[in-house]
């Protein structure tokens, strides 16, 4: 489309259709002469709905496509250009970043305000209560260096007037700019019309999103800007690690996460009472499928089948949850960590592998390098 509009061609508009200059060869010329000079065929060209070729100022133009259909289907016709124009429109209305969507991300809120307080306690000693949402955000704000730009953004975020203004403007705007009138027109004029039409469509499509954004921002208007900055930073980066607990976004589009907890170093005994020091690893649970807890790093353990990353931990009585809740994430993580640290029985040599060598001809994992 860009090439067409930038070509400098003189185009024509007739009955909402765009007409292109007709290209010639001898056969086409004969056909055109026949059509325009014989009374029999003129009829079909005079009917407004079926004008295939029109003549304006001695120039012939051939029918192209409906202009409003182009606007309507532009997203499918040229996704890249549509995205560019959409971004341009968002920049114009300061809607560039989808922070509202991120903040509305249910999984993130569950992890942040329900799972995380279980693993991170502020007060040590006997007085160990769970942290509230605000305390959790304050704690994260203290422990993590949040860039200044997020504090600026938090101020903008709580200012809901621009969004109200946009919604008001969208309400006042026609659904599609008026189509160019019949007659000759330049590619530049059509390009301006087309850009406005696409922007109007983008805003109309985004009305729901802007309305939701407004509601979210109204909810957050009473919260301190520092806490909003922390939340914006986490929503934007999609990952956080604090005191051995963390999460990482694995699929930005679907807003799915791996929630993990570090096991720390621990010691296991073999059949003969010899100690083996196991290094730290991250035991994780994913939010997008009800799976067993797994180790994120390349790791070996009697409860892991191989020596590689992403292996599920062997748990005998563990049923993967059908529905994901904060409690189930907590349970799965604790089950996984407990299994690694305390699940191996040196007398029974349970699991896939034994810590001490059994001298049987079965390929197994060797743990001698962990022996202390």
């Amino acid at each position: 489309m860009k090439q067409l509009f930038d070509s400098g061609l003189e185009l024509a508009v007739e009955s909402d259709f765009i007409y292109f200059p007709l290209l010639f060869d001898p056969d086409i010329e004969k056909e055109i002469q026949a059509v325009f000079h014989s009374g029999e065929n003129i009829g079909q060209f005079n009917e407004p709905e079926s004008k295939t070729v029109i003549k304006i100022e001695d120039n012939y133009f051939v029918k192209g496509f409906r202009l409003d259909a182009l606007v309507k289907n532009f997203e499918a016709i040229d996704p890249h250009s549509y995205q560019t124009m959409k971004n341009e429109c968002f920049r114009r209305y300061q809607l560039m970043r989808e922070v509202d969507g991120m903040i509305l991300d249910g999984n993130l809120r569950t992890i942040l305000f329900q799972v995380m307080p279980h693993f991170i306690k502020k007060n040590k000693g006997l007085n160990r209560k769970k942290l509230s949402d605000e305390e959790m955000l304050d704690l994260i704000g203290q422990k993590i260096n949040i860039p200044d730009s997020y504090y600026q953004e938090a101020k903008t975020f709580t200012d809901i007037e621009p969004l109200k203004e946009i919604l008001k403007n969208i309400g006042n705007q026609p659904p599609c700019p008026e189509l160019p009138g019949n007659g000759l027109t330049s590619g530049r004029n059509l390009q301006d019309w087309f850009r406005n039409a696409v922007h109007t469509k983008v805003l109309a499509d985004e009305v729901d999103r802007i309305t939701t954004s407004l509601q979210v921002r109204q909810q957050f208007s009473r919260i301190k800007p520092e806490r909003i900055a922390t939340l914006l930073y986490i929503a934007d980066s999609g990952a956080l690690e604090l005191d051995g607990f963390g999460f990482i976004r694995k699929n930005a589009g679907r807003k799915e996460y791996h929630v993990y907890k570090h096991s720390g170093d621990y010691v296991l005994k073999d059949y003969y009472g010899r100690n083996y020091l196991f290094p730290d690893c991250r035991v994780a649970v994913s939010t997008y499928m009800p799976s067993k807890p797994f180790v994120m790093e390349k790791y070996k353990h009697p409860f892991l089948l191989e020596y590689k990353s992403g292996q599920e931990i062997c748990l005998k009585h563990f049923n993967p949850p059908d529905e994901l809740t904060a409690q189930r994430i907590i349970d799965a993580l604790e089950e996984g960590l407990t299994a690694l640290r305390y699940g191996y029985d040196h007398r029974r040599r349970n699991g896939y592998h034994s810590l001490d060598k059994l001298w049987v001809h079965i390929p197994t994992i060797d743990f001698d390098d962990y022996r202390i």
């Binding site: 200059p21 290209l23 010639f24 060869d25 001898p26 086409i28 010329e29 120039n59 012939y60």
Partner: protein
Amino acid sequence: MDLLKHIKNNRAKQKQKKPIKRDVFNQISSIVRQYGLKENFLDIFDTVENHFTVKRLGVFRIRVKKPGITSIFSLVEKEEYDLTRSIIHKADNPYLVFAHSPEEILWCKSLYRLNPALSAEKLRRYHFETLFLHECAKRNRMKTNPSNAET
């Protein structure tokens, strides 16, 4: 040959692949587009013919024919179409289809007047200016010594 065989032969001939023949419109319109020729080319066409003489050209030179890039089915804008038709109308000779450049379009009329019986192979391979000079040289040789003239 019986009727059945005749029909079979005819059908076999119809099924054979036939090469696309050079079309003078496609050839000239491609040159017009490629070189961006405008209406003033027709003025040059009218005036330049008188200048094509051996004396004016001076020494005999061999020009290399440029490889032609021709569309098989050429579609052009109205102005280009009108110009193409005018060139074809003005030149009006069978050599035009072998022209690969505007210069050769200018040469083709003089060449055709000098020798209308040149083979397609020669026209395809050699620049029209070279052919023109060659024909002139041949004619001069015939005038001076008719018995040694080349065929």
